[in-house]
Amino acid sequence: MGNGYSTNTLDSTINTKIGTPVNTGGTADLASILGNPSNVSLAARLRSKPLTSASITTNASNTTASVTCFTVTGSIYVHRLYGVVTTVLSSNHTAAHWRLEDGTNTPAVTLATGTTLSAATVGSVISKNGLAAAALTLSQSDQARVTENATAGIVPLSPFVVVAKNGATTVIAYRYTTTNAPATGVIQMFLEWEPLSADGAVV
């Protein structure tokens, strides 16, 4: 390959670093060699940026509703926040946006006046591509689409920092308005993040 990297090279490098397993007489079982598997897979442990996902059902009835996507503890750095429609959204699904909710305060993650997602098809992507003052982006899968930042060299999926309210539950909520009774649809939300504080975590 001619562009400075290759999967084969990376494979070889990791294999070299890992070395050849040799039994030198240890009696530890697999769990103690690989770590505690009861909570998370080894692959997830090896990822430096955890990717957490949660599916939310949009079934509000003629109202504006918040749906909790993730609960945040401490402080985290969010690399990416986006969602993929897995069940088609019904009509009259408007003002879609993300915000934080700590029981009292509701700072915007994306613009509160939001984006219309009515009848968004399966596979459509919604994403935070700008500052909190910008509306979330809908990339509708009714046709092939290319979504990118308007400025060359700036990546899509804009990062941000979340600080949870001390002593209270803080969530990243998806909020929308519908005049249907009820609305229908499912969106799988994804959050790629890493902890900033010692207690930084996402559930």
Partner: protein, 204 residues
Amino acid sequence: MGVGYSTNTLYDVINASIGTPVNTGGTADLSSILGDFGNVSFVSRVLPRQYSSNLEPVAGSSTTESLPIWTITGSIYLHKLVGVVTVAMGSNHTAGHWRLEDGTNTPTVTSSGSALSNLGVGSICFKRGISSSVMDVRNSSQCQIREAATAGLAAVHSSILVAKNGATTNLVYRYTTTNAPTTGTLQVFMEWEPISSDGAITVV
């Protein structure tokens, strides 16, 4: 390595992430520890960025043609898209660009307009700007450095590609030639990762 990370950094991150193995009584079987190997390699699970390449011989004869490179499923994050000339291009190779094709719609990944005529082996083209900008072409007839227009920004431009639901969506290389036929081969590299659960690419 030249893509923004080093083996040492990667090794350190892996070491730090693994931590000290402690058996706290977990009883999961091996498959749940290591994950499902049925579809992807362990390395690709650990390092979400994946790499793919495809050789595209260009042999059109007095025509404009699209060469399918990859079929895209679901949604993917395109980190880098680069073409490297592995067999010298013929003369009159114009309007080179990448775009998506879903059978009806053809959104551009780079705009039409780059000439690759007579490019020698080792020359490259890559997506440096937004989709309304032409691909950047660098001729290997001399050494060159290419970087972002503004300090601190990436020298390549990343995108999200969404496939049409229920239809085949291809990432294609499209060009025009007046030769009959033209000649050359472009090896196209893509650094990507899935962002939807079904996000994937298949070499065409």
